[in-house]
Assembly symmetry: C2
Homo-oligomer: 337 residues x 2
């Protein structure tokens, strides 16, 4: 009997460089990437071209954030020797693949993508949506298929984008009678979105409610002390509410001593535990994660050129793979001359 | 006083490889290109990526037509040493430029382009228009700006596309505070569109009403004898109509002996000149143009690999220019790492 050797899954993940990464990214994806890099062949895309689809007028933010992402990735423990970190705009094969896929998707289909529709509504785009933004799922199809990725970690809200990616894969393979492209599977994050310190929204760069991985200990402390708790919990002796209380939500996400968190919750509920005490504990818990990241980051920041070199080495490695896919694609289409 | 040396104009022109070229192309653009190549720096684009925007399911036609265009160009007298002939899909910089320009144009603006609207109506696309087709003016902006072309020969119906191209140039230069991109001017063809032998439509590959540059003498003769003349001109002695008579329209376009054509017209009008006689003369006139083209083509067809080499050499030369433009563009955006 033939023994089927299980192939390592190929992951495509990444971020749009529009700022530094925060605790929401850490708990939602970065921590997971540090684990997954040992089990899968992981590609991490710094999606600068995609960031420009709605930041065309602010390329400086995008450029500066590329290096910041590099710092973030390396300081949380992503190992550039086993994960491939790449800069999207430096892999022209992605742009080329996008051009070919654009012909396989109708404008009507793009406009029906629920994820894109929601995002367009949020951004108030309407018909004034940049063409590049409307078609970003096609460009994501190029990102994913360029590396023949079959596993894509996403939030539940991004699933329709992956469905569209797989539609493109199926259409391409059918039209050109090939199996050059590979369908991908969504690896849906089980972690609920981390809310921001304001308690009103998910943690988001544009909302000013983030604790960044790059924040100093003082900033972390200040933000924790600003975080929304229970406005009815005025005196220490008052009974307090856990639900919607950012401090306990963050403790649930980051504290490893579950028993202690449980005790604190009960104490807070029945009264007698002040916000200051719990917040101090949260600072301690967060610093357990953040302090080593910060130390690593400080070290990396001393030599940004070296970090850029690491990103470029990853990009070169990635290009070899993407170039092979592009060749497969062109060969399937029969447009190699 | 400073003497301004006049720079040679830079032309971008070309064709979508979806078949062989015909008399309409010859009179409308090819003959002009043969002249212009001595006055301007001329780039001739074999737009295979653009051809795929509405021929995604028929890449074989596109591939085969690339070489046919090569035969057509060289056999009419385009000199690959002074004109740069290039294959679009082999210049990835064009795809990259397209990606950046996509962010500077709204979907609403694309949908309002009169040329694209007309073509979409003709093709019955509606919302099922491929995304690549809707945005082909953006990809043309990349074609034109890649070579910093400032002169683009077009039919009057294509002027709105060039207006959109110039909008992109202006937006880019304004947003990124640069003069990296160059606006272009339309060189509008003065030749009216040549009708097909059916007399109903312009000569068009998909309409089966063409005389191709690659047609044999027998085919040319057969097609001329099929051409629509005056259905009321039944007997030789009947007076005949010149207006809408394909034979006279072609004579007007191709005959150099204007006096003789004038005499024939008068004779035909008053009666006594049969269709066969005029058609025989038209065959003779067309063969004056077509015979030397056919001889050259036969010679080229003996060594298609050599023709492909010529196209590739042109493409390489073109890439150097496009790569420089892409670098200028990225530098203006500040996304060179």
């Amino acid at each position: 009997m033939a023994n089927k050797i299980e192939q390592k899954k190929i992951i495509l993940t990444g971020d749009r460089p529009t700022g530094c990464l925060h605790l929401g990214h850490y708990i939602g994806s970065l921590a997971n990437r540090v684990k997954l890099q040992h089990e899968c062949q992981q590609n991490i895309l710094i999606a600068d071209m995609q960031a420009l689809t709605d930041h065309a007028e602010d390329p400086r933010l995008v450029r500066e954030s590329v290096l910041q992402l590099g710092f973030d990735y390396l300081s949380v423990g992503i190992d550039p020797e086993i994960s491939t970190i790449l800069i999207q705009s430096m892999v022209p094969e992605i742009a080329e693949l996008t051009m070919y896929y654009l012909n396989l998707v109708t404008v009507g289909r793009l406009e029906k993508n629920p994820t894109v529709k929601d995002e367009m509504k949020q951004k108030g785009f309407g018909k004034s949506v940049p063409a590049g933004f409307l078609m970003y799922p096609i460009s994501q199809a190029a990102d994913i298929t360029a590396f023949k990725a079959n596993l894509v970690p996403v939030g539940a809200d991004q699933v329709p984008v992956l469905e569209q990616v797989n539609e493109i894969v199926k259409t391409f393979n059918r039209v050109y009678k090939t199996d050059a492209l590979v369908e991908c599977e969504a690896l849906i994050s089980q972690t609920p979105r981390l809310p921001g310190i304001d308690g009103k929204n998910k943690m988001g760069k544009s909302l000013g409610n983030c604790i960044f991985l790059s924040d100093s200990p003082d900033e972390v402390k200040r933000k924790v002390f600003e975080a929304y708790t229970d406005p009815g919990h005025i005196k220490v002796d008052d009974p307090g509410q856990i639900e919607g209380n950012m401090v306990f939500i963050y403790l649930d996400a980051f504290a490893s001593d579950r028993k202690k968190v449980q005790e604190l919750k009960e104490h807070y509920r029945r009264g007698g535990l002040g916000d200051v005490a719990v917040k101090n504990y949260l600072v301690e818990v967060l610093e357990n994660s953040l302090a080593p990241i910060r130390v690593k980051r400080k070290e990396l920041e001393k030599d940004p050129a070296e970090v850029m070199k690491i990103l470029k080495r990853g990009t070169e490695r990635a290009r070899l793979v993407a170039a092979q896919t592009l060749e497969d694609v062109k060969e399937a289409m029969g447009i190699i001359y």
